[in-house]
């Protein structure tokens, strides 16, 4: 195989494919008055803010801010359409609730495992008697509990809630998803157990033995069924941006998972290439689209203003679909894999700046003039920070893929910090925000203690800032020490110690924040809190029909 020919054809193909797709999906490019972005609102509803997690006072302030920005008072939306939406919500309620309960449990499991692993890195003789608690296993339990527990449960739960709303159709076949989610969680329990017991497939992100993975595949397929049924039975002609991301994520994941896990197919360094093709695509083509879809839905919904540029969303989507799929090779820079593959991945990593910039500009334009909403809406606070972290982590990822930077950062804790910027700062923050919005809608109850939302936000934000900054500095110093052959290797270990400790402190704050969140979740579910003596249920049912 001729390297130059492959590179050249890939490059030409990239551009032609991208152009053809954008063109074929859209005629009348650069049309500013696109109605496609308005389908998330009912007739006359634009200008109405919505954040069920805000207090009455905050909701009032939110609406006043929007009214000031538009220079008029928002009309009341078409009541019939709102009842339709309430029906769509009702059809997903129990299912979404089940997904979210699982998500919260896995969040706590993952936090405990992550914190344990973090402490072990600077206290290597702490809790070493049990095999399952050794660093290599508990760290892997942490990763898998996030990757197959918290993130997909929160993300798919949110998709279950959002898709019927966007298609204006009640969810069809929810019981399939219910059964699928049970299988999925059973598989995860078995998978984490087997990692703890020391049985794993030895590939990062793909540790769970393939025998158990067949359960995941089955569960995942069952979860996807109702979304497909609902899609084909939809009552709207137009598919909103969030639907593109969510639907495609559901089709991408099984291909990634099955191709990567077929036993006996892959061999030697080719298997390493598959490993990182999967490892990066599960981030880029599964968690990222689910989280971006949530941003595209909740951000405009909260502030009552449609996404400003529909064309930018198209560019963002197809750019992500094309470029993201090919960046995985940058995990193997300098490794024993074909050089052209690594180069291709570096090029596509840089190209990722295009969709990321499209997303960022689009969200910024939408929020412009409405930034006060961040003060009053808990949902928006989480989702806004999450969206910003998407931009930050993607740009950081592009830069880290450059050989000159990668030679320092590869093999260091900086990569770990970067991974958490994406999976935590972006994906988890967005899902926190989505859950704050969705839970009151599906339970018809308010979050009982607004101060707990604030505490959660500041604990995880502060903790994560310490985590990220500490580990980034530590990782960089570690990389520089390793790159200087005159310094002994042990220098690169010693230099990281204070930063590893800072990471544990930051991680502990994040864990504490998750405990607050989980407790609040339980209090909401148990209907415990200041609102429980009021005739809350009636008021909320009414509110759901008229003011939502």
């Amino acid at each position: 195989l001729n390297t130059v020919a492959i590179l050249l054809s890939a490059f030409v193909l990239s551009f032609v494919a991208l152009l053809v797709f954008i063109w074929s999906q859209r005629t009348g490019l650069f049309d500013r008055s696109s109605r496609g972005a308005e389908v998330i609102f009912a007739t006359q509803e634009i200008g109405r803010t919505e954040d069920p997690s805000a207090t009455q006072a905050e909701q009032g302030a939110l609406q006043t801010g929007a009214d000031l920005a538009t220079g008029g008072q928002a009309a009341h939306a078409d009541a019939h359409e709102l009842i339709e939406r309430a029906r769509a919500d009702a059809s997903t309620g129990p299912l979404v609730f089940f997904f979210y309960c699982c998500a919260v449990v896995w969040l706590l499991v993952a936090s405990a495992a992550g914190l344990t692993a973090s402490i072990k890195l600077h206290e290597p003789d702490w809790m070493v008697q049990q095999a399952w608690l050794t660093f290599g296993r508990i760290r892997t339990i942490h990763l898998n509990a996030v990757a197959y527990g918290w993130a997909p449960m929160a993300g798919l739960g949110t998709a279950m809630f959002v898709i019927p709303r966007l298609l204006k159709t009640p969810l069809i076949g929810a019981r399939f998803a219910f059964f699928g989610a049970v299988l999925w969680n059973a598989a995860l329990i078995a998978g984490l157990g087997s990692i703890g017991a020391g049985i794993n497939d030895g590939m990062e992100w793909l540790e769970i033995p393939w025998q158990i993975d067949t359960l995941f595949a089955l569960g995942g397929a069952l979860i996807a069924l109702p979304l497909v049924f609902t899609l084909v039975n939809r009552r709207v002609a137009h598919l909103y941006v969030s639907v593109w991301y969510m639907a495609c994520a559901l089709f991408w994941l099984p291909v990634l998972f099955i191709v990567a896990k077929i036993p006996g197919l892959h061999q030697g360094v080719q298997q390493a290439a598959v490993n990182w093709w999967f490892g990066h695509n599960v981030l880029g083509l599964f968690y990222t689209p689910l989280a971006l879809a949530s941003v595209y839905y909740f951000l405009p919904k909260v502030i009552g203003r449609p996404i400003q540029s529909y064309n930018l969303s198209l560019l963002g989507f197809w750019g992500l679909a094309f470029f993201y799929g090919q960046v995985g090779g940058h995990h193997l820079i300098g490794g024993p894999v074909p050089e052209w593959m690594v180069t291709l991945s570096i090029v596509q990593s840089m190209m990722m700046i295009i969709p990321v910039a499209a997303f960022t500009v689009n969200q910024y334009q939408t929020l412009q003039g409405r930034l006060s909403a961040l003060r009053f809406s808990p949902t928006l606070r989480f989702i806004g920070v999450g969206g910003l972290m998407y931009t930050a982590s993607s740009l950081q990822g592009s830069i880290e893929a450059l050989r000159s930077v990668n030679v320092i950062t590869h093999f260091t804790h900086l990569t770990v910090a970067h991974a958490h910027l994406g999976m935590y700062g972006f994906v988890s923050f967005v899902f926190f925000g989505a859950m704050y919005f969705v839970m009151p809608r599906i339970t018809a109850r308010e979050w009982p203690f607004p101060w707990m939302i604030t505490t959660h936000f500041w604990l995880v934000s502060g903790g994560f800032a310490l985590y990220f900054v500490g580990l980034t500095i530590g990782g960089w110093l570690q990389g520089e020490a390793m790159l200087d052959a005159a310094r002994p290797f042990m220098d690169s270990v010693a230099v990281t110690l204070p930063y590893l400790k800072a990471r544990s402190i930051g991680g502990a704050c994040m864990g504490l924040g998750h405990l607050v969140f989980a407790l609040h979740f339980v209090l909401l579910v148990l209907n415990y809190g200041p609102q429980r003596d009021q005739p809350a249920l009636f008021r909320h049912l009414f509110a759901r029909k008229v003011a939502s």
Binding site: L121, F135, G136, A237, C248, V255, H266, G268, V337
Partner: protein, 202 residues
């Protein structure tokens, strides 16, 4: 966008491109790379040891991929020459790793060939490398009042063994050390020609 068929087929085309670039082409190019002449297949004990290496997550801190001299000082650190695809022909899966919290291990069998050192270091790394943050692995060993006939006794530095006891390696530890000692990619990538061939003129 109005057609879900267009949407999903477009998305799958994108994934197909990605799959052909990162899965199919590497498969065609390096899947059947033969082992280099100097590379020996693993023995059963070494393969069992490899499973212990995977089970305990050694790969999350130790890479197995020294890089080229022109790129990074891996060779100067004594980690060995840059590896090539043929070095991994018997590795399923390859354990390239993504972190160097500890040093690269591709040639640890050459660099530290003493099994006594390896066993003791697994039992308590800090007895050998001050400041090491590698976990100790006491669960791979046993403490006994006295060793029996076939026991592998670990010789530890003074102060590491409790009074009146001996530390004995469990089979997992013995296998793991056998695997570590088998890690040797010091043979040449290109076989040395025995007599001047047609290429010798260059």
């Amino acid at each position: 966008m109005k057609s879900e068929i267009k949407l999903v087929s477009g998305a799958m085309v994108m994934l197909a491109l990605s799959t052909s670039a990162l899965v199919v082409l590497p498969y065609m190019q390096v899947h059947d790379t033969p082992p280099l002449p100097g590379l020996k297949p693993y023995t059963s004990a070494e393969l069992r040891g490899r499973e212990v290496y995977i089970a305990n997550g050694c790969l999350y801190c130790h890479s197995q991929q020294p890089r080229a001299k022109a790129f990074a000082p891996d060779f100067s650190r004594g980690w060995g020459r840059a590896t090539v695809a043929g070095d991994y022909a018997y590795d399923q899966p390859p354990l390239l790793g993504t972190m160097r919290t500890g040093p690269d291990l591709m040639n640890i069998g050459v660099r530290q060939p003493s099994d006594a050192w390896q066993l003791g270091h697994l039992y308590q790394p800090r007895a050998y490398v001050p400041g090491s943050i590698m976990p100790s692995f006491p669960f791979l060993f046993e403490q006994k009042a006295r060793a029996e006939k076939d026991d592998v006794v670990v010789n530890l530095p003074a102060g590491q063994v409790p009074a009146g006891k001996v530390v004995v390696a469990r089979p997992e530890a013995v296998d793991l050390v056998k695997y570590l000692l088998s890690l040797d990619r010091s043979y040449p990538v290109v076989a040395t020609p025995t007599e001047p061939g047609p290429g010798a003129q260059r």
